[in-house]
């Protein structure tokens, strides 16, 4: 008998898609079947079906976690006419499906969690097809319970009944569980001894007493304490040896958040989304959250609970809770109970543990959303990973591509068919433990998606671990692989922005401002303040920031006063010894001068990041030593945001040709009067005005209208908004959104460039 089959691709497995189709079929009185296949979901119907109606309903009534990328219709020969509509047994064939990111607890599950009559009342692992962990517990595809860490928890009869009933919200929800059959939570003290009382009561008591509790979450450990208790926050800071790094806060619900922070509609929507990221908000004055959560910063990171365990704590504790990543200093977050007990025993007073293992680390995502609703990802992880990005239509197939990313804020990426999947945030690869997670995560992705590597792509920096690792992997691989493609750092930043914006290869060149701390450039140079014309094929640096000589290698990035020294010596060589001594008291100027002149561990660098450091240091901000990356620039931005008005005094950074004239800027800057906040604001404004002028000139010269803003410096919201205001509608802007403009987005651009360059 004649009929049709609809091949649906996208995020359609493990998200309640088949029961959704089954329920749809019941409603539309269809005859046929639905089944998971390697390429997604197959829907087969007889010839009486109204295909247009089905397709429309599929798109419009999709379950919350599902996404359809394509529906292909073919004719299908039924061996026997179908009697009704059924969910058929999966056919395993070639794998072409997506893994779904972990999703925050859905409203239905939350209601059950807090309902004392529900059989899952206060069960910390409640979930359904609309919510719960996916990426962090999947060991292999297809997504069946046997291929997840839930294989160790056989379903009880009640759960099994829900699991098998297509009308139930938990039909084929692989992580489904209850108190009788699922994972359990318990609590231990710092010595690792089990605390026999109820974990929740004990946790609430510990938090109330100002203690630090380590909590095993879905993608790693967190450290928690009472966010309204400054002494508790300080205790956590001292034990973590982190005096300045901002700590995220979790509140029970949006009303609770509004007690201590200003929330606009876009922020509310993002907080309450399935991603449930940490969102940067402006704290309210005189609220009851501790003042030491984000020292010297204008924003505080806030999130709503993203899993049932966090919901229970937040709901019953009734006050905001610090929820920061559970790592020892210099280590990535712990993933298993023993590691946590080892690494965090000097930090946490007690531990909330459970027996569901974490397959993949997944930190909380960190996002910002403007009042206009523009989204920015600063750290892309839980809730977003491993969502795939569709390639622009004129790109070749990316299957088997592997880009190793950069060394800091590392995330790697793989090509899968016509999509790119960027990994979760892994962090600084200088750290051995992070390197191990990096290697293991790459192996996991390749295995999960059944990818033989065809092309490895790396940053050009000879000292990057990621690059050396790729060379090693390449050596040990079979001969089928193509030679490694090396991609220049800022070219990758630009391509990352382009490909996220769906820029086709045939759309040609764009202008770009690529501003960051530092990346390896051509001719053994170090770049980070570049005005570029580029496409996927190549790039040409037109201008940007002038170079300074930094003494001290990587130390220069950690000690902003070195940037200040470098700028003064480079741009104000006439400055007397005495004057320099006043500006940089107690610094070994003689030795620094000699080191600079003789080139001792000194490097010529064009770097916007170091310009921010220098300016911050000149105002006495984080001058000696920073504790986290970008601290000086973040504090400078926060200070500037606090300025109510700009000074009447004009501060300008003149533009020579296509370069900023910092030799003219620095004397003016040292003379510039006003409060610190006003000066900080005026620097941002002057830089924005100068950058806009650069762009305008480059546009005239090249006749190119599109402008990419990329590099970690554009996480500076004030600079970005001032620059955009300056440019108005002069340029068509291309900006990063769901992938970081910082080094977390490099891998995406690396793959895009390698794909296009390999085509020629």
């Amino acid at each position: 008998m004649q009929g049709f089959e609809l091949q649906v691709k996208g995020k359609v497995q493990g998200v309640g898609f088949r029961p959704f189709v089954w329920q749809l079929a019941e409603r539309l009185q269809l005859k046929g079947e639905v089944l998971n296949c390697g390429e997604g979901v197959m829907i087969r119907v007889d010839q009486t079906a109204n295909l247009a109606l089905i397709k429309q309903a599929l798109q419009q009534q999709l379950p919350p976690l599902a996404r359809i990328d394509s529906i292909d219709v073919r004719s299908y020969d039924w061996p026997q006419p179908p009697a009704g509509f059924s969910i058929a047994v999966s056919q395993s064939s070639k794998m072409d499906t997506q893994v779904v990111p972990d999703a925050a607890t859905c409203p239905e599950c939350l209601a059950e969690l807090l309902d004392s009559t529900d059989r899952r009342h206060q069960y910390p692992f409640i979930n359904c097809t609309h919510c719960g962990p996916r990426f962090t517990l999947i060991e292999a595809l297809p997504y069946d319970r046997a291929n997840t860490v839930m294989k160790n928890f056989p379903l009880c009869p009640a759960c099994a009944a829900e699991f098998k009933n297509p009308a139930d919200r938990r039909y084929h929800a692989q992580p489904v569980a209850c108190e009788n059959c699922g994972p359990m939570v318990w609590m231990v003290n710092a010595a690792g001894e089990k605390i026999t009382e109820d974990w929740l009561t004990q946790t609430l008591a510990a938090l109330a007493q100002g203690q630090v509790v380590a909590i095993k979450s879905v993608g790693g450990f967190h450290l928690a304490c009472d966010a309204t208790n400054a002494a508790a926050v300080q205790l956590l800071r001292e034990r973590k040896r982190r005096q300045y790094k901002p700590l995220a806060v979790m509140a029970a619900n949006i009303d609770a958040v509004k007690q201590f922070a200003v929330v606009h509609a876009g922020q509310q929507a993002l907080l309450q989304s399935r991603i449930a990221p940490i969102v940067l908000l402006t704290p309210k004055a005189n609220s009851d959250i501790a003042q030491n959560l984000a020292p010297n910063l204008a924003e505080v990171g806030v999130m709503l609970p993203s899993n049932p365990l966090q919901h229970l704590i937040a709901h019953y504790f009734k006050k905001p809770v610090v929820m920061t990543s559970g790592n020892g200093s210099g280590l990535p977050p712990a993933l298993d109970n023993n590691t946590a007990l080892n690494q965090l025993s000097a930090i946490a007073d007690s531990f909330v543990l459970h027996n569901r293992s974490i397959v993949q680390r997944c930190d909380d995502s960190l996002m910002r959303v403007s009042e206009q609703g523009q989204v920015e990802v600063l750290r892309r992880s839980r809730g977003l990973t491993p969502d795939a990005l569709n390639l622009p239509e004129d790109f070749p197939d990316a299957e088997g591509y592997l880009a190793y990313g950069g060394d800091l804020k590392n995330a790697f990426a793989i090509g899968k068919g016509r999509q790119i999947i960027v990994s979760q945030y892994l962090g600084d690869l200088a750290n051995l433990e992070t390197q191990q997670q990096f290697k293991a995560a790459i192996a996991h992705y390749l295995n999960l998606y059944q990818l033989p590597v065809r092309q490895r792509v790396v940053d050009c920096h000879p000292g990057y671990f990621s690059r050396q690792r790729a060379l090693l992997d390449h050596q040990h691989s079979d001969s089928a692989e193509q030679p490694i493609v090396e991609v220049q750092h800022h070219h990758a930043h630009i391509a990352s922005c382009l490909v996220e914006n769906g820029w086709r290869a045939d759309q040609g060149q764009v202008l770009a401002l690529a501003l960051d701390g530092l990346g390896y450039g051509d001719h053994n140079e170090l770049w980070g303040g570049e005005l570029v014309v580029a496409d996927y094929q190549g790039y040409r640096v037109l201008g940007g920031l002038p170079a300074v000589t930094l003494v001290g290698g990587d130390t220069a990035a950690r000690q902003p006063w070195r940037s200040f020294y470098a700028h003064l010596r480079t741009f104000m060589p006439q400055l007397s010894e005495a004057k320099l001594n006043l500006l940089l008291p107690g610094k070994p100027l003689k030795q620094l001068d000699i080191s600079m002149a003789r080139g001792l561990n000194s490097h010529s660098v064009r770097s916007a990041g170091r310009l921010f450091d220098a300016v911050a240091a000149s105002l006495g901000i984080a001058a000696e030593q920073i504790e986290y990356e970008g601290q000086a620039a973040c504090e400078l931005e926060s200070l500037a945001s606090a300025a109510q008005r700009r000074l009447a005094t004009e501060l300008t950074i003149p533009v020579d040709g296509l370069s900023l004239n910092l030799a003219a800027f620095w004397p003016a800057w040292l003379q510039h009067k006003g409060s610190k906040a006003e000066r900080a604001y005026n620097f941002h404004l002057a830089l924005a005005v100068a950058l806009a002028e650069l762009v305008r000139r480059a546009k005239r010269q090249t006749q190119i209208n599109h402008l990419v803003l990329t590099g970690g410096v554009f996480h500076n919201a004030l600079l970005t908004s001032l620059l955009k205001a300056q440019l108005g509608s002069e340029c068509q802007l291309l900006e990063h959104q769901y992938y970081s403009c910082g080094d977390g987005g490099l891998a995406l651009g690396q793959i895009a460039i390698a794909l296009i360059q390999n085509e020629k």
Binding site: S329, G330, G406, N431, L432, G463, D554, Q591, V605
Partner: protein
């Protein structure tokens, strides 16, 4: 009255003629003199029987020495040339016995300077009981060499039963350093670049055989290596390559003088990458660590010896910071590129 003309090396000193013979007789023969050398044959003739009684294997090594400046606090190129090669021989467990020595002199070098270096070599060799038994001198035109280059080769006999080597290293072993890190490299850097850092920075140039001798009776010594160019980090990378093991050192345990620490902080460099000329890295079995350490500390050249890390199976060289995280140490390069974005 005019100043006496400073006597300098001329091309004639290398011509094979009279002035060359004079130089050899009055300088080299006089200071290095020993029975073998005094035979003045084209080769040193060494008694096999005596050597054979000391063991079954010869240790034989060569090294060339070029350094600017040639004289520095704690030593000079001559002392360096003797102990540099002697130390390489000694790392096998052998006592260094004989050295050859070849000079390449730049035309114009002050004879007085050369004499100081030769005397320093002779003293270094005498103190260590090493004989310089054969040698050679060449003079090159001004600019073709920098003052003086010296090549030395040395031999010793490895005692029976000693089979140290990187291949013996196993995960679980401990890593010992015989003293403070980077003294030589920091001293030379400060001097050569005119950094003018005061303090008492001195090259650690010294003979390491006494330390080796003290370690020999201890069971469980796996491998020794003197940490010269590239510092401790280079040695650990060599060990990692030949053993396949990983090497983790503990930042807080590294012995470093305040002077060296100061120059590292100023320049953002790491003491583990600085050259030493009198420090050895010993990898020993865990149960031998205490014995090895106390044996070293008893000797004048090993008073600051320290346990600095452990061997693991990671295949990588890492440094554990004071908070517990481990940082990866890349191979030392002459021009480390900053990587922080």
């Amino acid at each position: 009255m005019t100043d006496p003309v400073t006597e300098r090396v001329t091309l004639a000193h290398g011509s094979g003629g009279q002035s060359m013979q004079k130089l050899i007789d009055e300088l080299f023969m006089r200071h290095f003199k020993n029975d073998t050398l005094c035979q003045q044959e084209d080769q040193a003739r060494l008694p096999l029987k005596a050597l054979a009684e000391m063991g079954g294997e010869l240790a034989f090594s060569t090294d060339s020495f070029v350094i600017d400046p040639i004289e520095f606090p704690g030593g000079d190129i001559g002392k360096l040339a003797v102990y540099g090669t002697a130390n390489d021989v000694a790392m096998s467990g052998a006592k260094p016995l004989y050295l050859s020595c070849g000079f390449i002199l730049e035309e114009g070098l002050e004879l007085a300077t050369l004499a100081r270096i030769v005397v320093s070599m002779a003293n270094a060799a005498n103190e260590a009981g090493i004989q310089i038994v054969t040698g050679d001198t060449k003079v090159v035109p001004k600019g073709a060499a920098d003052k003086v280059f010296i090549n030395t080769s040395g031999i010793g006999v490895i005692p029976p039963g000693i089979q140290w080597g990187a291949k013996q290293i196993q995960p679980g072993d401990r890593i010992i350093i015989s003293g403070t890190l980077g003294d030589h490299g920091a001293t030379i850097l400060n001097l050569r670049e005119g950094l003018g850092l005061d303090g008492t920075m001195r090259s650690d140039c010294q003979h390491l055989y006494p330390l080796v001798e003290a370690l020999r009776p201890i069971a469980g010594v796996r491998a020794l290596r003197d940490a010269t160019r590239g510092g401790v980090n280079a040695v650990l990378h060599e060990f990692a390559k030949s053993s396949g093991c990983g090497f983790q050192i503990d930042e807080a345990a590294l012995p470093v003088t305040p002077e060296v620490r100061g120059i590292c902080e100023l320049l953002g460099l790491e003491a583990v990458n600085f050259a030493n000329e009198g420090k050895l890295v010993a990898v020993v079995a865990e149960q031998a660590a205490e014995a090895a350490l106390s044996a070293l500390r008893k000797l004048p050249g090993g008073t600051s010896a320290a346990l600095m890390g452990d061997v693991n199976s990671s295949g990588q060289v890492t440094i554990k910071n004071t908070f517990g995280g481990s940082r990866w140490l890349d191979l030392p390069t002459s021009e480390p590129m900053p990587r922080i974005c």
